[in-house]
C-alpha cells in the first residue's frame, strides 16, 4: 500500500532529515510513527503526502511511485489520501459542512453525493447538527474532528495523521483511535505520527520509530 524503499531526505543547507528509511504498510494496516521532535516524523508524512520529494529512494502508493511526480499529477494522488493536521488547517470563513465537503468539491462530485457523504462523515465524528457552524465557534477537539471528517469524506485508501490527538483529552483520543481502527477494518491504511506514548501503548498497533532520521524500530 504505502512503501518507503531506502528513502533519504536532505534539506538544502541542513543535514539529513531521513537516512535510508524503509518500511511497508499493508492495506488495512495502522501504524504509529514516533520519535523525538526532529527525528523525521514530519518529513515522512510530507514525503508520503507528496508535499516534498525525497533526495534518494522510492516512495510508492499502491505501486505508483510518488516521489518524482509532475505537479499536474499531485492533486490526483492527494485524492487517494486523507490528511489530518495538528493545527487542523480548516477554512475559517467556511462552515463545517463546506470544510468537510472540500475534498469532494475539488474532485468534482455532484452536490447530492457531497451532501450525503458529508453528513455521514460528520455523523461518524459525532458532529451532526454542527454543519452550519463556523470553525471558530467550535472547541479544539471539535475542530480536530472536523479535520478528521474532511480526511475520511472521500473514502481514501490512506490516512496520514500528524499528531491528531495533540489537542484532545485522553478519553476523546481513545475514541478517535477506535474510529481509526474501524477504518482499518475496511481496508484503509493509516499512519499516525505522534509522541503520545500512553496512547501508543494502549493501542497495541505497529510502531515505526525514528531516531535522528534513521529507522530504529519498524
Amino acid at each position: 500500500m504505502l512503501k518507503f524503499e531506502h528513502v533519504s531526505k536532505r534539506y538544502e543547507g541542513g543535514g539529513d532529515a531521513l537516512l535510508d528509511v524503509s518500511f511497508h504498510l499493508q492495506p488495512g494496516e495502522m501504524a504509529f510513527l514516533t520519535g523525538h521532535s526532529g527525528a523525521g516524523k514530519s518529513t515522512v508524512l510530507k514525503l508520503a503526502a507528496a508535499i516534498e520529494q525525497s533526495s534518494h529512494g522510492q516512495i510508492k502508493l499502491e505501486g505508483q511511485s510518488i516521489n518524482k511526480l509532475a505537479d499536474s499529477k499531485i492533486p490526483y494522488i492527494r485524492r487517494k489520501m486523507g490528511l489530518i493536521f495538528q493545527d487542523y488547517k480548516l477554512l475559517q470563513d467556511r462552515t463545517v459542512f463546506d470544510n468537510v465537503a472540500l475534498p469532494m468539491v475539488v474532485a468534482g462530485y455532484s452536490y447530492q453525493d457531497i451532501a450525503k457523504r458529508v453528513r455521514a462523515a460528520l455523523d461518524k465524528v459525532a458532529l451532526s447538527g454542527k454543519e452550519q457552524k463556523y470553525p471558530h465557534a467550535l472547541s479544539g477537539g471539535e475542530q480536530q474532528r472536523v479535520g478528521i471528517a474532511r480526511a475520511v469524506v472521500n473514502k481514501p485508501a490512506l490516512i496520514l495523521a500528524d499528531e491528531p490527538t495533540g489537542n484532545l483529552d485522553p478519553e476523546l483520543s481513545t475514541e478517535i483511535m477506535r474510529l481509526f481502527t474501524q477504518f482499518t477494518q475496511l481496508g484503509v491504511t493509516i499512519l499516525v505520527a505522534t509522541h503520545d506514548i500512553d496512547l501508543i501503548n494502549r493501542m497495541e498497533q505497529r510502531v515505526i520509530k525514528l531516531h535522528r532520521g534513521r529507522l530504529v524500530k519498524g
Partner: protein, 330 residues
C-alpha cells in the same frame, strides 16, 4: 460519544475507496463549480465594498477616458466628414483691385488650359453672405468699410488626387500682381485629414496604454486577493485541488472587475456626453450645422464591455501563472 456504526463505508467494498462519479454527474458538478465560482467571487468582492468600489472606479475611469478620446475623434471626424472634398481654389484679390479689373482677371484665368470654370464673388457679395451666415451682422454693420476682399473661385480641370497640378496652378495665381493670396481648400482638407490620422493614432495609443493600466490594476488586485487567501489555496491543494480548480474563482474575480468596470465606464461616458450635448448643440447651431453628437453605439458598447472583461481575465491569468506556481504547502 463517537458513533460505532459506520454504515456508509460498508457499501464500497474491501478498500473503502469511493466509486468515481460518472461522466454525466461529473459534468453537472463541473457546471456547478463554475456557477459557484462565478457568484462566490462576486460575493467575495462585495464583502469589502470600499476597496471594491475604489478598484472598480479606478478601472472605470481609465476605460472612460480611453472611450472619451475615441468618441472625441469620432465626433470630430463626423464633423469633417460633411465637408465635401473639392479641389476648388480661392484666389483672394488685393483690396485695391476694382470690380472691373476683377472681371478682367476672371476672364483671363478662364483661358488657362488647366482651369474648368471661374466664379467671381465681389467684396459686396462676400460681405452680404458673411452677414447672413455668421451671426455677426450687428458687428459688421458697425464697420465703416468692407474688410472683405473680392474672391475668384477657380475650379481646376485636374482630378482631386493630382496635387502637382494643383500646386502649379496655385503658383501661377500667386505670381499675379493683383492677387493677394491663392488657397486650395483641398490643402486644408488634406491637412485636417492628416490631423485626424494623427489623432486616431493617439487614440489607439491611449487605448493600448489604458488597457495596459487596466491589466496591471486587475493583476495587482488579484495578486493581493491571492495573498489574502494564501491559507485557503494551500489547504485546497492539500485536499487534491488541481491548479485549474484553484485558478477558477480568481479568473472569475478578474472577469467581474473588468465587466463591472466597463459597465461603469459606459455610464460615465454617457453622463459626460449628456452633460455636453446641449452646449454642443448650441455651438453647432451657430454654424448652422446639422451636427448630432455621437454616443457609443451598440457595437462599440459591446466591444468596450467585451474587451475590458477579457482584460480582467487576462490580468488574473497573468498573475496566477507566475504566483500560483510558487504557492505550495510546506
Amino acid at each position: 460519544m463517537l458513533k460505532d456504526n459506520i454504515p456508509q463505508h460498508k457499501k464500497t467494498g474491501a478498500h473503502g475507496v469511493m466509486v468515481q462519479p460518472d461522466f454525466k454527474s461529473k459534468f453537472h458538478a463541473y457546471l456547478d463549480t463554475h456557477a459557484h465560482a462565478l457568484f462566490s467571487s462576486l460575493g467575495r468582492l462585495t464583502r469589502t465594498p470600499a476597496a471594491f468600489m475604489m478598484t472598480i472606479l479606478v478601472l472605470a475611469i481609465s476605460m472612460a477616458l480611453s472611450s472619451s478620446f475615441y468618441l472625441m475623434v469620432k465626433n470630430f471626424q463626423q464633423l469633417t466628414g460633411n465637408i465635401e472634398a473639392t479641389n476648388q481654389i480661392s484666389v483672394f484679390l488685393k483690396p485695391t483691385v476694382t470690380p472691373a479689373k476683377a472681371l478682367t482677371l476672371q476672364e483671363q484665368i478662364k483661358l488657362d488650359a488647366l482651369v474648368e470654370s471661374v466664379q467671381l464673388i465681389t467684396a459686396e457679395q462676400a460681405l452680404a453672405e458673411f452677414k447672413a451666415n455668421s451671426g455677426y451682422a450687428e458687428a459688421v454693420n458697425a464697420l465703416e468699410q468692407n474688410p472683405l476682399p473680392a474672391v475668384l473661385l477657380v475650379l481646376p480641370k485636374n482630378s482631386l488626387e493630382d496635387e502637382e497640378g494643383l500646386k502649379t496652378l496655385l503658383g501661377r495665381f500667386e505670381k499675379m500682381p493683383d492677387v493677394e493670396l491663392a488657397k486650395s481648400e483641398l490643402q486644408w482638407i488634406n491637412r485636417l485629414r492628416a490631423i485626424i490620422a494623427v489623432a486616431k493614432r493617439l487614440v489607439l495609443l491611449f487605448n493600448l496604454l489604458f488597457s495596459f493600466a487596466v491589466l496591471l490594476i486587475i493583476g495587482n488586485t488579484i495578486r493581493l486577493e491571492l495573498q489574502s487567501r494564501r491559507e485557503e489555496v494551500l489547504i485546497t491543494q492539500l485536499v487534491g485541488a488541481t491548479h485549474a480548480f484553484i485558478r477558477r474563482p480568481f479568473l472569475y474575480t478578474g472577469f467581474w472587475l473588468g465587466f463591472l468596470a466597463s459597465v461603469t465606464a459606459w455610464f460615465i461616458v454617457t453622463v459626460v456626453l449628456l452633460f455636453l450635448r446641449s452646449p454642443i448643440q448650441q455651438l453647432s447651431e451657430q454654424y448652422s450645422g446639422q451636427f448630432n453628437l455621437a454616443f457609443l453605439d451598440y457595437t462599440e458598447t459591446l466591444t468596450l464591455i467585451g474587451v475590458t472583461s477579457l482584460l480582467g481575465v487576462l490580468g488574473a491569468w497573468w498573475v496566477l501563472g507566475s504566483h500560483l506556481q510558487a504557492l505550495k504547502p510546506d
